[in-house]
C-alpha cells in the first residue's frame, strides 16, 4: 500500500509540482491549502507523513504541528516542516514543539523526495 502524504502548503503551483514529483515516486498525495483544512484531514483521514509549511492562512503551521504533537495517536507521524531560509526563530519554535525534519525553501525536488523516503522507511 502506498505511503500517504499530506502536503500542507498555500501556494497552489508549488503544490502542483510537488504532487507530480511525489506521485511519480509512488506516494499518494493529498493537499491542504490552509491550517484548518489540514486539521480536517488530520482528524478524519490521518496520513502516514506530513509536509507542513509554517506560514499558512487561518491556523498557522505551528498550531497544526502543536495539535499533531500533542495528540496521542498522531504524534508518532513524522512531520517535515518547510521554512524560509534565515528564519532561525521558526526552526527553534518547530524544534521546541517537536519535528522530525526541516526543509528550507527553495529546496530541490530530489531533497524532498529523499527526506520523505528517509522518514517513512525509518518508521
Amino acid at each position: 500500500m502506498a505511503v500517504r502524504i499530506l502536503l500542507v502548503e498555500d501556494d497552489s503551483h508549488l503544490v502542483e509540482s510537488l504532487t507530480f514529483v511525489l506521485e511519480r515516486e509512488g506516494f499518494e498525495v493529498r493537499a491542504a491549502s490552509d491550517g484548518e483544512a489540514a486539521m480536517r484531514h488530520l482528524r478524519f483521514d490521518p496520513p502516514d507523513t506530513m509536509i507542513l509549511d509554517v506560514m499558512l492562512p487561518l491556523l498557522n503551521g505551528f498550531e497544526v504541528l502543536k495539535f499533531v504533537k500533542s495528540d496521542p495517536v498522531l504524534k508518532a507521524m513524522p512531520v517535515i516542516v518547510l521554512t524560509a531560509k534565515g528564519q532561525a526563530h521558526d526552526r527553534q519554535m518547530a524544534e521546541t514543539i517537536g519535528v522530525e525534519a526541516f526543509m528550507t525553501k527553495p529546496f530541490s525536488n530530489r531533497d524532498i523526495v529523499d527526506a520523505v523516503r528517509h522518514l517513512t522507511t525509518r518508521a
Binding site: 501556494d11 514529483v21 509549511d53 528564519q87 525553501k105 527553495p106 525536488n109
Partner: protein, 524 residues
C-alpha cells in the same frame, strides 16, 4: 551650583570688561558699596536688579545665575548614568568642575551623547524591523515559496523526459507566471526597505525643540502681541468660542469647517488631528474630536491665515538651536499651538484667573473652555517679565513611562531619555485616571517641588483597544505651593507629607528605596 557663584561671576565679568564697581553700580541704579556686597556674596540678588546688572555686563541672566550651567550639569548627570560608564565613578562634583572650567568640552560630550543615543535608537528600530516585522517575514517567505515553485517546476521540465505535451505546457506556464510574481515581490520588498529607512527617525529634533523652548524661557512676546492683535481684528473681546472663530474664518478668508465621521475622513487625515485644505478652503476635523480640540484647530488655522505665518517664521529664523528641518517643523507646530493658546487664553486674563483661582487647573479648563492639557501648557508660558505667574515645569508621559513632552525648571531635571522616578505623581496619576494627584516631592539635594498630575484621555481607535491615557504633570518649587489650591493641607514643615523622590534610579542616591529597580551608577 547656586547663588553662591553669582557674586564672583559678576566681579569676574566686570573686571574682564575693565569696568569699576562705581561704573556698573551707577548704571544699575545702586551704590558701589551695595554692588561690592553683592560681588562678595554678602547680599542676595535676583529679579530686575539681576537683569539690569546682567544687561550692563552684556550677559544673559541664565549665564550669570548659573541656570545655563545647571542645565549642562543635569545633562552631564544623565550621561553619567549610562551603563557604559559604570566603572568610571563619574560624580556630580567632577561634572561641575568640567562644566565650569571647560564648558565647550562639556557641550561636546552632551552633543556626542545625544547623537550616540540617536544612532542606537535607529539601530534598534532597524534591527526590530528585520527580526520582528511580520510584513518582512511574510515577504521573505513569499519570495522563497515562489522561488521553490519555479525550481520545482523547472526541475520537472529538465529531468522528466516522458512528460506529456499538456504537462510540459502546464509546468512551463507555472515557471513563467511565478517568475513574474517573483519580480513583483522583489520590487515590493525593495520599496519596503526604502520606507524602513525613512521610518528610522531621529530623536534629535525633539531635543533641539526642548533646547529652543528653554532658551526662550517658553515665552514669546511677539506671538502674544500677534494673538492680541488677532483678537482685535476678529472683534473678540471676552471668551473666544467656536462661533467667533468660524465667523472670522468665513468673513475674512471664506474658509468653512467640515465635521466628518472619523471613518469618512479623506485619506491622509489623521482622525486625531485636523486638516486645512487651502484650495477647497475647508478645515476638516473628525466628529470624534473633543470640543476643545476643535476650537484649538480653528484658532490655529485662523491665526495662521491672519498673520500669513510671518510671526512664527520670524521666531524660527532667530532660533539657532534648531539645526534640522524636522526640528524646525516641530518648532513650527509648537509655536502655532502657542499662538492658538494665546488667542484662546489671553495672557492677562488667563494669568489673573489663574492667580485668583489659585491655579485650579480644572476651573481654568472650564473657564476658558479648554482641555486640561491646553491649560497646563498655557500655565508654563506665564513668564512675562514683571507679570509672570508661578514658574511651572511640565512633563507628559504615557503609560509605558515614555516622556513625550518636557519643560524643565532650574534645579528640577526632567529625564530626556528613559523614565523618571516611579514615585513621581506623573506615574501615580495612572492609578486614578482623571483625578488630580498632588505631591510634595523632595529630591536628595534637599530641593522640594510641588507636583500636580492628572491623566487625560485621548480618543481610542476602537472600543476593544486600551484606553489612551497620558499623564500631564506640572511642577513648581515648593515655595509656591501655598499660592495654589494644591498646596492646601500639605506642609513643608512636617516630614510626614513629603515624598522622598529622585530623578531616576540610575542617578539616585537613595540606596534603600523600596521602589528601586536599577542599581545606582553615580556616586553619592
Amino acid at each position: 551650583m547656586g547663588r553662591s557663584l553669582i557674586g564672583p561671576r559678576i566681579r569676574e565679568r566686570r573686571r574682564t570688561l575693565g569696568l569699576t564697581q562705581a561704573d556698573v553700580a551707577a548704571k544699575a541704579g545702586i551704590s558701589a558699596s551695595y554692588l561690592n556686597l553683592i560681588e562678595g556674596n554678602k547680599r542676595s540678588i535676583g529679579g530686575t536688579l539681576l537683569q539690569r546688572i546682567a544687561a550692563q555686563l552684556g550677559l544673559a541672566v541664565d549665564d550669570i545665575d548659573g541656570a545655563a550651567e545647571r542645565r549642562l550639569l543635569d545633562d552631564l548627570e544623565e550621561l553619567a548614568g549610562e551603563t557604559l560608564f559604570a566603572g568610571l565613578q563619574l560624580n556630580r562634583s567632577s561634572a561641575s568642575e568640567l562644566a565650569s572650567r571647560h564648558a565647550p568640552w562639556a557641550h561636546a560630550l552632551i552633543a556626542l551623547h545625544r547623537s550616540w543615543l540617536d544612532r542606537n535608537r535607529a539601530v534598534d528600530a532597524l534591527s526590530d524591523r528585520l527580526t520582528q516585522d511580520p510584513r518582512l517575514a511574510d515577504a521573505v517567505h513569499d519570495l522563497l515559496t515562489k522561488a521553490s515553485a519555479i525550481r520545482s517546476s523547472s526541475e520537472i521540465l529538465e529531468n522528466v523526459h516522458d512528460l506529456e505535451p499538456a504537462q510540459r505546457a502546464r509546468f512551463t506556464s507555472i515557471v513563467g507566471s511565478n517568475s513574474r510574481k517573483l519580480a513583483d515581490a522583489a520590487q515590493a520588498l525593495a520599496a519596503y526597505f526604502d520606507s524602513t529607512h525613512a521610518d528610522a527617525r531621529s530623536n534629535m529634533p525633539v531635543e533641539e525643540l526642548d533646547d529652543f523652548l528653554v532658551e526662550r524661557d517658553n515665552y514669546f512676546p511677539e506671538l502674544e502681541r500677534v494673538a492680541a492683535e488677532f483678537r482685535a481684528a476678529a472683534g473678540i473681546e471676552g471668551d473666544c468660542g467656536d462661533g467667533e472663530l468660524l465667523a472670522f474664518l468665513e468673513r475674512r478668508h471664506s474658509v468653512q469647517l467640515r465635521v466628518q465621521a472619523a471613518a469618512d475622513l479623506p485619506p491622509g487625515v489623521d482622525p486625531r488631528h485636523f486638516a486645512y485644505d487651502p484650495v477647497a478652503r475647508t478645515i476638516t476635523i473628525a466628529d470624534s474630536a473633543p470640543p476643545a480640540s476643535r476650537r484649538f484647530a480653528l484658532a490655529r488655522t485662523a491665526t495662521a491665515l491672519h498673520d500669513g505665518g510671518r510671526s512664527i517664521a520670524a521666531e524660527l529664523d532667530r532660533a539657532t538651536a534648531l539645526t534640522s528641518d524636522m526640528a524646525r517643523r516641530r518648532a513650527e507646530r509648537a509655536l502655532s499651538s502657542y499662538l492658538a493658546a494665546a488667542v484662546l487664553m489671553p495672557y492677562a486674563a488667563f494669568r489673573d484667573a489663574a492667580a485668583r483661582s489659585r491655579y485650579d487647573i480644572e476651573y481654568l479648563a472650564r473657564r476658558f473652555l479648554a482641555s486640561i492639557e491646553q491649560v497646563c501648557h498655557r500655565l508654563v508660558t506665564l513668564r512675562r517679565p514683571g507679570e509672570s505667574g508661578i514658574p511651572f515645569g511640565l512633563l507628559r508621559v504615557d503609560a509605558a513611562g515614555f516622556v513625550t513632552k518636557r519643560f524643565a525648571l532650574p534645579h528640577l531635571s526632567l529625564p530626556r531619555h528613559g523614565n523618571a522616578c516611579p514615585l513621581w505623581a506623573a506615574y501615580g496619576a495612572f492609578q486614578a485616571p482623571g483625578a488630580v494627584v498632588r505631591q510634595l516631592a523632595e529630591f536628595p539635594s534637599g530641593d522640594r517641588f510641588l507636583f500636580v498630575a492628572q491623566t487625560v484621555e485621548k480618543t481610542r481607535p476602537a472600543f476593544a483597544m486600551p484606553r489612551r491615557l497620558l499623564s500631564i504633570m506640572l511642577a513648581c518649587n515648593a515655595l509656591y505651593a501655598d499660592q495654589t489650591i494644591y498646596g492646601d493641607g500639605l506642609s513643608t514643615a512636617s516630614p510626614a507629607g513629603i515624598v522622598p523622590v529622585g530623578t531616576n534610579c540610575r542617578t539616585c542616591v537613595r540606596r534603600a528605596c523600596a521602589y528601586r529597580e536599577e542599581d545606582p551608577i553615580i556616586d553619592a
